[in-house]
Amino acid sequence: MATASSAQQNNDWLKGQQQYWDNWFEQQREFFGNVGAKAPSGFQGADFQGPQAQWAELLKTWQSAVSGNEHAAPDMQAFQQYFTKAGEAYLGMMQQFYQGTGQAKPLDQMTNEWTDNLKKFFSGAGQAGNMGAGKDPFAAIDPLNFFASIPGIGYTREKQEQLNHLYQQWSEYEAKARDYTASMSKVGLEAVQKFQEYVANPPKDAAPLTSLKEVYTKWVDICEGIYADYAMTPEYTKLYGEVVNALMAFKKQQNKIVDEAMDQLNLPTRAEVDSLHQRMHALRREVLALKAALKPEKAARPVVKPAVVKPATVKSVKVKPAKKGKKK
């Protein structure tokens, strides 16, 4: 049940929303009424950077309104933040189209601008994933793992080796993660291209997309289709395996170093606890086996036989499709 406090939180949130949208509509009217003439209030002088900056600013305000309510309970904050994150693509698309309508842009231009922005985003991600040695911050610290590949010497030799090993594994994971990100950006670019093709030459039997939601749904369908194909390729499964294995190798080495630190602090280590659990399970299995061996033979019970003995055939039953069957 909602409490008085939660009702207050809700009111605050609604009020923030209302204020935001009132402000937004007002500024939209003001801006589009003054395009080419003067900057609207709130966007004067150096701050006036055109509609793109205005949208970015307003979207930021909205996100802040929905996710940064300081009165909201932690669970509500989490919801608001998650929703804002999950809906970014949709909200971004809303922004693009909504702004375009105010500028009386042709629809195809708005669609192209939206897909061009997506293309830029994915191209950027791909480049980030393909960073050369010169641009890699890790490579800048230690090109070619130079320091980490020097063997340790002296009293702390073994510890140096462990830390070098940890660094090398982190480096390896970073490299694999970048490869993976780069491959996923290719999926994004391909989806943008396919969407543009769809808009330029829609199939003859396709229904027109008459709402932002339908445009978004079509976009998601295309992305899922391309991703599903790519995710089954040997290239993807290799990259996926490499990034997971590299992370796990790093994690394993990290565990080892943490265990050594625990040992020095005279605290139980994970390895010790694991050994105890292993022995405990082995003992339990022995006890269960002994108990089973000591159990007296049970008296025979009357066997319940099947009421119907089916003939030796394999049959297949198809359930009729439900009229409104929901699929998750």
């Binding site: 949130w13 929303q17 949208w21 999950a86 709402s211 991703y227 499964t237 099947p306 030796a312």
Partner: protein
């Protein structure tokens, strides 16, 4: 045809409507209240470690007519209350109404002390002792076993190793051939070093499992689903239904490390269930030993266990009484959709009543 046909008025209206629903929806979300884990009355009849064996009672007062008790073995992944999510979305209620005497194994939430539990411990240990409890309570030598998803694979192993204790076997959305072309999870696991993964993590976190499942359809499950959610936010009942499902999806126990290691390596990576090479407690699992009647139920649109992974069962089991039930829906819809309520439990009940 022009692909995108929007007008400024429509866009204004849509944006406003979206925001209004979002704002209104917060009220419904705040009024949601507690989301219970299962709704049908039940009593605990056996407990061992984290495991609890429950006995269900029909809320309508209907007494069991089938003398053979039914044991449900759910997957270790996710929680078994999917079978009893809401009053009008409960496979267990449906089964009770067909006269079954329903028991369910709740595996609980394994912690690090369970990391060394093996598949042998689960199948020849926990399941076997639950079967013994039922046999003792009902004075029978065998029970009807219903295995779901991974629990179905466990049930097949159990039946192959203890055929004398099973009267009839029902498998639901159960993978048997783990390496069919359309099985995305099987593709992904091929290059994963599962031993390294378990050695590094101990138990496999439920969140990691969830992330993997979400990535089967990332654009839909991580983004679109929550945009769609806004559409129903102004409807308290639909919000309620959505959140029940949301709770279940992310209520994910960690996986006992050694069991995960064997299951993923032997089943997913090397497909040993169909080659007869799975070994439990020193014994090979031969599906030809499954000679009891088998009802195999699969979902036509299942993206986690595609029908191609389930249907091969008939080739490998030794039974002469094999029936398939094909349900039009997905991996979850088979438990919770309204069509599932109408079709699945009555079909299972009828099939069992004819053979018990």
């Amino acid at each position: 045809m022009i692909a995108v046909q929007l007008s400024p008025e429509k866009i204004f209206k849509e944006v406003t409507n979206f925001n209004t629903k979002l704002a209104e929806g917060i009220k419904n979300l705040r009024n949601l209240g507690e989301l219970p884990s299962g709704v049908t009355p039940k009593e605990e009849v056996y407990r061992e470690d984290k495991l609890v064996l429950y006995h269900y009672k029909s809320p309508t007062g209907k007494k069991p007519t089938n003398k053979i008790p039914m044991l449900i073995s759910y997957a270790l992944v996710n929680r078994p209350y999917m079978t009893d999510l809401q009053e009008n979305r409960s496979m267990i209620r449906g089964l009770l109404e067909t006269g079954q005497d329903v028991y369910l194994i709740d595996w609980g939430y394994p912690d690090r002390s369970d990391r060394f539990l093996t598949m042998d411990d689960y199948i020849n240990g926990y399941i076997d002792r639950c079967v013994d409890v039922l046999c003792e309570r009902h004075g029978v030598d065998a029970v009807n076993l219903l295995g779901i998803c991974q629990g179905g694979a466990f049930s097949l192993c159990y039946t192959a190793l203890h055929p004398e204790k099973i009267q009839n076997l029902v498998t639901m959305v159960t993978p048997v051939d783990f390496q069919t072309e359309d099985n995305m999870l099987a593709h992904w696991i091929r290059n994963i070093d599962v031993d390294l993964l378990v050695d590094s993590l101990g138990n496999v976190p439920g969140d990691l499992m969830n992330w993997t499942f979400l990535n089967l359809k990332p654009y839909r499950l991580i983004g679109q689903k929550y945009i769609d959610m806004v559409e129903i936010l102004d409807n308290p009942q639909q919000v309620h239904n959505f959140m029940y499902m949301e709770k279940w999806i992310f209520d994910s126990p960690d996986q006992a490390g050694e069991t995960y290691r064997q299951f993923v390596n032997d089943f997913y990576k090397y497909n040993k269930l169909i080659t007869g090479e799975v070994e439990l407690g020193g014994q090979k699992v031969d599906l030809k030993n499954v000679t009891v009647p088998v009802l195999n139920i699969y979902a036509q649109d299942d993206h986690l266990v595609p029908p191609s992974a389930s249907k091969p069962l008939k080739k490998y089991v030794g039974t002469k009484d094999y029936t398939e039930l094909s349900f039009k829906g997905g991996h979850i819809g088979i438990y919770v959709s309204s069509s599932a309520q109408r079709e699945v439990p009555p079909s299972i009940g009828k099939w069992l009543n004819e053979r018990s």
